[in-house]
């Protein structure tokens, strides 16, 4: 048995082949074994894209290991390809001498034609240098569960479990977590549970049988801080962070939302938790999603709306209303490829300028960004905290890559989370006015309907300073524009200072933001180990920026902003801190960065 530091497995098949399930089940088991993990589910936007074609390939990549797992990995050590299309789609991301397991039953001439192979890649030189294991997965799956009397289609569906069984054997991982999963999932359909479990075991036995030709690996657990961990993806972490924050505020959590990829899972997670007083309203459209949240905020709930780019565009006018009425509101934008419908299932960071500046009028909003799946919890919590303490809408940017990607998360104890101060006023007070402000934060009071003798009216028309009455006074308008911006600027006082990895460096500063943290961190770490003069700083707080940002930038010869867009954070920095020169490294392919391409770019700069 070979012991590995880390390994990358890519599961690939038709979008109906159950590759996402295989991936997440393997992730669960691997996480429980204590490995560091990073996952990357990558699938088409069609539910069932044309069968057998490259466009219809659904993939799930997992990188797991003892240390240094910051990204899902550039290339695979093991590829599972359920058909020729899945093989073709992944040929360019294989490590040398990759172990390729294919379903030999799905490589007929017809299958090859659908994938666009002129000659059979199993016979020509396509896979030269790799180790190929052609396993008759479909037929072996069917025969292993023939005695259960399932129809042909249901039986064939179990082939993903046969494959998973093989992979578990390959990496010396136990089957029990997966078996428990099926016993729970198909409690009421025991024959389906049995079929999946049987196929899983059959795959495991098969791998054992062909041991002679199959390598056998073991990946040691990671050295992590002591504590209780679980596997979590970004959308689930976002939902839980919101719940934890609402509990700290001491108010109910309200979500007004409309289904949109890749944000829908946050709504689906929250609606399971009515037991915690969570109110989820699936609205008739994106606009009603945010408007209902604004109404709920006015009436005293911790209010949130979740969406992705196209939905964000629709919510824009209502966002301005939240700015004008100075109500606490959290807007989560799980970014995807744009513009328009764009690439619904692919990752991108191209909604940053929309978040910071994309509204009519002078309309400042706090903008935060989450950096890893687990960090979504912290930033969702932080978004609520800032919204409530500063009486402002807060946009939280996450992205498809971390929303669907998973990592081990050290479980937070709700009691140990920071307190959230509420600007409430519950008793009659003759001196109170709707737009009277706190000296420190400039936040107004959150006075909710039902409070005696504090009836008041708010709205989207410009407010008179202090009284909150409608005002068209020219000086007042300019004053109010200023005060709304100052209020957001003052958030700087409550956010952590920006940190740098690589304090002794002074040549190249790599700047990142949002969900590309792990990959950037990994690439910079590798070069730092080689003794290169390179440092890294990563932003979770976009608007306003941490107060020491300029001090950090001033220490370096060169600043390189790396992001999955055409240079939006770089543009924002140029406008905000124009005294520095910003270089850009951009990728706009609907895919996360690869460590290798980042290192190549950094090296090229360092050597010039």
């Amino acid at each position: 048995m070979l012991t590995l530091e880390s390994a990358v497995i890519k599961f690939a098949g038709d979008s109906g082949d159950g590759m996402q399930l295989v991936g997440s089940l393997f992730t669960d088991t691997t996480a429980i074994l204590g490995n560091d993990i990073a996952t990357f589910p990558d699938f088409p936007s069609e539910i069932r894209a044309p069968q057998g074609t490259v466009a219809g390939v659904s993939g799930f990549q997992i990188h797991f290991g003892t240390s240094g797992v910051h990204s899902p990995g550039d290339a695979a050590d093991v590829l599972v390809a359920m058909n020729p299309a899945a093989l073709k789609a992944n040929l360019h991301t294989l490590k040398p001498s990759c172990l390729i397991i294919i379903d030999a039953d799905s490589f007929s001439r017809k299958d090859l034609d659908k994938a666009g192979f002129e000659t059979n890649p199993l016979d020509d030189h396509t896979l030269h240098g790799h180790k190929l294991i052609p396993a008759p997965i479909t037929s072996l799956t069917k025969s292993s569960i023939a005695d259960l009397g399932l129809d042909n289609k249901s039986a064939e569906r179990c082939k993903n479990m046969f494959t998973l069984g093989m992979i578990f054997w390959l990496f010396s991982e136990p089957l029990d977590t997966t078996i428990e999963f099926f016993e729970q999932k198909f409690k009421k359909q025991p024959s389906l549970a049995q079929a999946n479990i049987k196929a899983l075991k059959a795959g495991h036995h098969y791998a054992l049988t062909i041991e002679a030709i199959l390598p056998h690996f073991s990946v040691l657990p990671a050295q992590k801080k002591p504590g209780i961990y679980r596997n979590i993806n970004g959308n689930q972490a976002t939902a839980w962070g919101l719940m934890a924050a609402a509990q700290k505020v001491g108010r109910d959590l309200f979500l007004g939302s409309y289904p949109i990829t890749p944000a829908t899972d946050i709504m689906q997670e929250l609606t399971r938790h009515k037991w915690a007083g969570v109110k989820v309203f699936q609205a008739e459209d994106e606009i009603a999603g945010i408007c209902s949240a604004i109404g709920a905020s006015f009436a005293g709930d911790v209010a949130v709306t979740t969406t992705s780019g196209p939905g964000m565009a629709l919510k824009t006018e209502a966002l301005g209303l939240a700015v004008m009425t100075e109500l606490p509101l959290v807007i989560v934008n799980v970014q995807r490829g744009g513009p328009s419908t764009g690439l619904p299932t692919k990752t991108e960071q191209s909604d940053l300028l929309q978040a910071v500046w994309g509204r009519n009028g002078e309309s400042p909003i706090v903008v935060l960004a989450a950096s890893t799946p687990g960090n979504c919890f912290d930033m969702a919590f932080e978004a609520v905290k800032i919204a409530v303490e500063h009486m402002t809408p807060v946009i939280l940017l996450t992205e498809s890559y971390i929303a669907n990607g998973a990592e081990p998360w050290k479980i937070k104890k709700p009691d140990e989370l920071p307190n959230i101060q509420v600007n409430s006023l519950n008793d009659p007070n003759p001196n109170w006015r709707p737009y009277l402000r706190d000296d420190q934060t400039l936040a107004r009071k959150w006075v909710i309907p039902g409070t005696p003798q504090l009836q008041h009216r708010i709205g989207g028309l410009e407010k008179d300073d202090c009284t909150g009455c409608v005002s068209h006074n020219p000086q007042n308008h300019e004053f109010m524009v200023g005060i709304r911006q100052n209020k957001v600027n003052l958030v700087t006082k409550d956010i952590p200072l920006q940190r740098v990895k690589g304090k002794n460096a002074n040549k190249l500063l790599v700047v990142g933001w949002g969900g590309q943290f792990g990959i950037l961190f990994g690439a910079v770490s590798d070069l730092q180990k080689e003794g290169k003069n390179i440092a890294f700083t990563h932003f979770n707080y976009i608007h306003p920026l941490p107060s020491n940002t300029a001090d950090i930038f001033a220490q370096f010869d060169m600043i390189l902003v790396c992001e999955l867009n055409n240079g939006q954070f770089a543009k924002y920095l140029r406008a905000t801190l124009p005294q520095f020169t910003y270089h850009q490294f951009n990728k706009i392919q609907g895919l996360p960065f690869m460590v290798s391409e980042l290192k190549d770019k950094f090296n090229q700069i360092l050597e010039s």
Binding site: D28, A31, I32, L33, P221, K224, P226, G227, I228, Y229, R230, N231, W240, M243, A244, D252, F254, G256, H273, K274, W275, A276, G277, V278, K279, F281, A283, D285, I287, A288, C291, S292, A293, I294, G295, A296, S297, F298, A299, G300, D301, E317, A318, G320, I411, K412, K413, P414, I448, P449, G450, T451, L454, Q455, H456, R457, I458, G459, G460, V470
Partner: protein, 338 residues
């Protein structure tokens, strides 16, 4: 012993100067709503007025209740959030024909369908007033306006038809000229458990003056309006000499005493019947062949969204396997690193 002071209409008026045009129908609606609240004796701290954009939507500023002047077309969506956050509040949406039936059409039909326990008053003046005179979704076909100099090419909505199509549980129609009827209808709207839609035939004195005059003018109203009351025969005319009869599958105007018609031939209004067939026919009645139906046309019960949501939440609080976030976070597959 606590003495319950009866509230007066002016108790609900804010200190803001009312800025509608002199002669605007909105004044009468404001007046009727304040009277209704006084009669209902609701504590004003528990009342929220939510409006969209348009002349009608300035309404909340004139009420000494909680108020939210939102954005164009979205009042029903904002109000939905208010009501779900706190179902104990008395929530009133104030909107116009453009706000509710054009830009806010989607929220309008879905708010009706969900049947939250709120009230929506649609000020229907068949014109865009605040933008100074463009046609609205209720303007009659061929109407000449600033944005239709050669006449509109659109068939107008009938608010009630749309509401019934959206499964309305309460629909009433009133003219802004009849404060007594308006007040009574507002009270019934608030008392109805569910979504209550009140359409007011409102006069825009500047851009569409006398649009409803054929129905609402003093000299016309007796013959042009059928004021419905549950359990009462559908009679109209100065001396109640006319009535509505069902002839086959059609309604028909008849005169008592003519052709042996007696009171027994006249339909009796049943606002509470779940069937919307007759309500639909009443809503469709229009001049000159028919009087326009006024009053509470439909008032039926149905599942109420806000109450059902809170019931689900209560049930989950009782029955869920989780009692704390800590339990949730530790549920499922976890692993302990020593």
């Amino acid at each position: 012993m606590e003495i319950q002071l009866m509230r007066k209409p002016k108790d609900y008026a804010s200190d803001q100067e009312v800025k509608w045009c002199p002669g605007c129908g909105d004044y009468a609606i404001l007046n009727a709503v304040q009277r209704a609240l006084a009669e209902l004796n609701i504590d004003k701290k528990d009342v929220v007025f939510v409006s969209g954009i348009g002349c009608s939507s300035r309404f909340p500023y004139y009420m000494d209740t909680y108020g939210f002047h939102t954005i164009h077309g979205r009042a029903a969506a904002v109000a939905t959030g208010v009501k779900l956050a706190n179902p104990a509040l008395s929530v009133w949406i104030v909107s116009g024909d453009g706000d509710s039936l054009a830009i806010g059409g989607n929220h309008f039909i879905h708010a009706i369908r969900r049947n939250l326990n709120m009230n929506l008053i649609v000020f229907n003046n068949q014109i865009y007033g605040l933008t100074k005179g463009q046609f609205s979704p209720t303007s009659e076909r061929g109407k000449i306006t600033k944005s239709s100099p050669h006449g509109t090419l659109e068939t107008p909505f009938n608010t009630g038809e749309l509401a019934l199509g959206a499964k309305s549980t309460f629909f009433a129609r009133v003219p802004d000229t009849d404060i007594k009827l308006m007040t009574q209808v507002m009270i019934e709207a608030e008392n109805h458990n569910g979504f209550s839609l009140v359409e007011v035939y409102q006069n825009c004195v500047i851009f569409n003056d006398k649009a409803h005059a054929a129905i609402t003018a003093k000299e016309n109203k007796a013959n042009a309006q059928l004021i419905l009351e549950h359990g009462k025969p559908m009679l109209f005319g100065l001396d109640n000499q006319f009535g509505i009869r069902l002839n086959g599958l059609e309604l028909e105007v008849v005169k008592l005493g003519e052709n042996d018609i007696t009171i027994n031939d006249i339909l009796v209004h049943d606002a509470y019947t779940p069937s919307s067939a007759l309500h639909y026919m009443l809503i469709q009645m229009s001049a000159p062949d028919f009087p326009v139906a006024m009053g509470v046309i439909r008032n039926v019960s149905g599942p109420v969204f806000d109450q059902d949501l809170h019931q689900q939440i209560e049930h989950q609080k009782q029955s869920s396997k989780f009692n704390s976030l800590n339990e949730l976070f530790l549920s499922g597959n976890t692993f302990n690193i020593q």
